[in-house]
Amino acid sequence: MGANDLTESSITTARTRSASPYGAVLSSESTVDRFSLHLVAQPYWHFPHALWFWAMGLGAGTFMVRHVFSVRDAGTVLGLPLLDVLGLVLVGIGGLILILDLGRPERVLKALRRPDRSWIARGAIADFVFLIVGAVYVLPGWVPSLPWTDAPFLEAELLAQVMIAIAFLAAALIIAYPGMVLYESLSIRLWHSALVPAQFIAHALSSSIGLTLLVLVAGDRLGDYRSPLAIGFLVTLVATLGITHMYLIDRSHEHGPAARAGVERLVRGKMAMHFWVSVVLGFAIPMVLTLVALASPDSAGPLLAIGGVLCVVGSLQFRYAQLCSGIKVSPLG
């Protein structure tokens, strides 16, 4: 969607400030008054970027969840541990989307140059480290003669533990860095909040526990993982909703119209349906389902699986709504 497509009432120009819900704010800003600045939607980052952020977080988070909860028997795919492979594939997909979105994809390695100042560079390095170390770690599934196994961290050999630790750190960076990338976008005030990286971490963890639950239930392997994973799911869902709530309050109180226009667009404007569906179906209902599952262990499997699916989908939808609500004050109408 381009800037010219903005038609909803929340997006107004400074020229029409008398009709704007943000009139008082705009009038108080001398530069807006003098130069007739406009509120425009950012035109570049939409669904592909949402997919990139979501896939990266989900993949890296799934790897982390497997090792934090010591999930050893979630099944295999082509002889490799399913959850680790899912993690690697999802991060790989995210990386591929990122590369394909570049204006010059053949120059992608140049993106590793400035980790001292750019979060995209740090994230790109983390992606490569995660993919390489993670791929080596799961190799014993194909090459049994290698001197380590693909067991989870606590049960693994020292060499494997080193690899898991490196991949784990890279995964932690991967789930955080998209939030930092958004935070760095100084002009898009909806994203310029310290709560955005926290939100990305919470989203990644909740959706990756959801995916892990789904995989375990589908493979009829939930067993002893039910309680710890359900509790972890509940905690991360509560954290996700709590951080989202604080984030909206934070952005609603920022000085200047762009952040508030973004919140308006997200909560009541063009992206409201995506936002509310993702919050209610993606996080609130899974929370209720998890509570019910904890209270009634007999029906826990299907409930947790449904909650997992909803959370995974809802997380993607939230990313999309948040990106499309990015609004900046610009001299260009």
Partner: protein
């Protein structure tokens, strides 16, 4: 360039002051920039926006109180550029004299800088460049129109380094633009900023732009050359229509 000015120990910081009272919206700076930098079709490093009406060169306000002024807009060459820290390759750089540039051969086209820039002055070459002429125009020192990369005003760094004025300043018929050292309190730009209360665009972003604007002080029709329209709107319009329809 790191010349020390005579009255200050700080290194030179190139800056520009644009007097919006003088700008007549002729687009001369935009066109000369486009030619000098051999910009492909659809890309402008320098634009002159109309403040007033909804379209370019269209008067705003109402019939009794028409209003129009212009806002020349290009890279603000910020002291704290928002585009700089987000560039993953180091393609965006800032010289010691304050000029912010792009090494196009290092740009991967991630567009993070476009997202970060509060001024909307960076442009992206989405496709292979098309130019109106079959041959290159302008300075051979400038690289522009590389598909898949971001570009923007470079403060005519080739001209500045050769001791010449940026082309937008040289081509401005209204003499609305001034260039100089912001760190030198005796420079023309520093004096103008001090005397006229020139302001930066969106200072709340904390980017400390090096381009200052002298705001339009009085938007009266007389100053904008439209007093006749304001005083006799109906008569003016009628006369204009009559003239248009008159046989030649």
């Amino acid at each position: 360039m790191t010349r020390k000015s005579s009255t200050t120990t700080r290194p030179r910081r190139w800056g520009m002051v644009i007097d919006l009272n003088r700008c007549i919206g002729c687009q001369g700076c935009a066109v000369s920039c486009k030619i000098k930098n051999n910009l492909p079709e659809g890309l402008w490093w320098n634009r002159v926006l109309t403040v007033g009406g909804d379209e370019i060169d269209v008067v705003g306000g109402d019939v009794e109180h028409p209003s129009i002024s212009f806002l020349p807009l290009a890279c603000q060459h910020c002291a704290e550029p928002a585009c700089l820290p987000v560039c993953p390759t180091g393609a965006t750089y800032k010289r010691e004299d304050g000029i912010v540039g792009i090494h196009s051969e290092d740009c991967i086209g991630c567009r993070s800088c476009i997202q970060a820039c509060p001024y909307g002055v960076r442009v992206f070459n989405l496709r292979e460049p098309e130019r109106a002429t079959s041959h290159a125009l302008g300075s051979i020192a400038v690289t522009s129109g590389v598909r898949g990369t971001v570009e923007k005003c470079d403060f005519c760094v080739d001209r500045i380094d050769a001791g010449a004025l940026p082309i937008c300043i040289e081509s401005c018929p209204a003499r609305a633009r001034f260039v100089g050292d912001l760190n030198d309190p005796d420079s023309e730009v520093s004096r103008l900023i001090q005397e006229t209360g020139a302001v930066q665009l969106q200072p709340e972003m904390g980017t400390d732009p090096s381009v200052y604007y002298i705001p339009v002080q009085h938007r009266s029709p007389r100053q904008t050359g439209m007093d006749f329209i304001a005083n006799e709107p109906a008569a003016y319009q009628q006369r204009e229509i009559t003239e248009m329809l008159a046989p030649r």
